[in-house]
Symmetry: C2
Subunit: 332 residues, 2 copies
């Protein structure tokens, strides 16, 4: 198999992490990079990603970059499908497969059935595949628990918990979980969409789809975790009574029961960071990663591990459910 | 999707566990059962599997049963590919896809390249798929660690440990790990193949294949764990100095390093039963299941979860690596 030629669109923290990985991976080549930020345009995509110079200049013109010969566009520009859909469509029309960190693209059939249908049709028409993935949604709260049910005779429920100490994470993450905000600002941020994790609904429905369950009701709650004493990270100081972070829970009801429970606790100073999955059934399967998985490295990695095999996937809108087992490989 | 019609061949403990699961699963139907044991022939396959009467009489004639309309044959007759290959070929020639617990079939390309090639050709010719799987090989020591690398940027090594308290397992398992044998009998059993786990080599090579590694050298060691005090299970008494079970380690060397280490410790009274996986890389991924996964339920389950999707797999000799993500589903 020859090199996979990639175009990176979006050079925020995740996009730059992806470029840095492409630079070090055998069998992958960056052939284009796009970002609208004037501080990045015209510079070398490798240099601004903290890796070697790659000879790829960042352009602000997606249309022009799409004229390049490439196999896959990696799109890391936003969480909301409505925002990224026009970009996905441009790429697809240019005959490029797309893998995106857009959380709502991981399983868009419930929240955006019409957009999903259109994207599926368009990508089939152009003979390319489109996939939304990442660590979450895309892996820890959906594909992995689904995979674990493979050894079960019977499954009654799935619970996933991610407990994170936000103080070790980058500033945009701390901001997203509300660290440092007043309670009023927290609720206002939640309303505007700048606070809170996007993707629980997608993960819950991906699990249900796999297990043959119908989600009768889906509920999501978000609440601030308040600092009880002064807290501090590299980026923010939090007085007692202000927000240290959040607790967010997504629940899918099946047959009148809470069959799917997804919980994120992310705040400065979480005493017990971990990722855990329990599949309730026979047998009960309990997974735990003490300390948790680094979400940024994980997202960049799973995106590229998927990009490696995306060109050989059947055309259409794909999910992690209908891809072959995604894994790392030295050869790409 | 209509029901998957199954023929069960081999009604040992695993085969009977599979039949019991088929009886309780929606979307699966047992249409035939084969075993050579005169105590089973002529009896109802459900009844002898400890479940409801299924109206399927156990036959000793595989050829005759293969005349039935069926989608998948589940073959649970042996660990060695040379022993089961003629049965697989009969099924394939009868136009049936095959999923088998035969350990050597899980990744037969290294130990039995010629048999594998022939089986692949024959199954393509007849438009059916053949898959070897189970809990181990098939899941815990290969597919799952491979899946976990999906979130890695870089992988340097994989270590899997299964620690089992053999005293909670059925008698054939206790016999297989050597419980109750003298040291002489242990080594003799190992030589004859009645002692020891089959499948480490297959798992190690499946991991290497996925990760793009070349195994320069593969080594496997087995040693008895001796009882230090009198031990007892439902089936066997072990005097001090005799074998309580075994420790078996498979090592794959890549680039001069032990990159793949698979270890099984299975003996009466193991104080710390667990399954654990470590993927060394970035990030390091550590999985642990305290208490471990029940191997029998797991094997029966993964076989049937695979059988559900096998009829829609591309024809040929498949491995867990090129199947879509195998998972439980209520609807089949």
């Amino acid at each position: 198999m020859g090199s996979v030629r990639l175009i990176q669109v979006g050079l925020g923290p995740i996009g730059r992490g992806i470029v840095a990985q492409v630079a070090e991976r055998e069998g992958m080549e960056l052939v284009g990079a796009v970002d609208l930020d004037p501080c990045k345009v015209g510079r070398d995509a490798g240099t601004i990603s903290g890796t070697e110079r790659l000879g790829v200049e960042v352009s602000e013109d997606l249309g022009k970059v799409l004229n390049k010969e490439a196999d896959v566009v990696v799109l890391a520009t936003g969480s909301r499908l409505a925002d990224v859909a026009p970009q996905v469509e441009m790429c697809v029309r240019a005959g490029k497969s797309v893998v995106s960190t857009c959380e709502e693209l991981a399983f868009p059939f419930v929240a955006h059935p019409e957009l999903a249908r259109r994207m599926d049709e368009l990508s089939r028409e152009h003979g390319v595949a489109v996939l939304g993935t990442g660590i979450n949604p895309g892996f820890l709260m959906d594909a992995l628990p689904i995979f674990l049910t493979g050894i079960c005779r019977r499954v009654e429920g799935v619970k996933v918990e991610r407990f994170q100490d936000a103080s070790t994470r980058r500033f945009p993450f701390q901001r997203k979980v509300g660290a440092g905000l007043s309670q009023e600002e927290f609720w206002e941020g939640l309303r505007r969409g700048s606070v809170g994790h996007v993707g629980f609904r997608e993960s819950a429905h991906m699990i249900a789809e796999a297990l043959g369950w119908r989600v009768e009701r889906y509920e999501e709650t978000v609440e601030p975790i308040l600092a009880e004493e002064p807290l501090e990270s590299r980026f923010v100081k939090v007085e007692p009574g202000r927000c240290a972070g959040l607790r967010q829970v997504g629940c899918g009801y099946v047959d009148g029961r809470r069959a799917i429970v997804l919980e994120l606790q992310a705040y400065l100073g979480h005493p017990e960071p971990k990722d855990s999955i329990v599949v309730y059934g026979e047998p009960v399967v309990r997974w735990e990663v003490v300390g948790g998985v680094d979400g940024d490295v994980g997202t960049c990695s799973v995106v590229l591990n998927a990009a490696r095999v995306l060109p050989s996937a059947p055309p259409g809108l794909r999910t992690m459910l209908d891809m072959p087992v995604i894994h790392w490989s030295r050869s790409a």
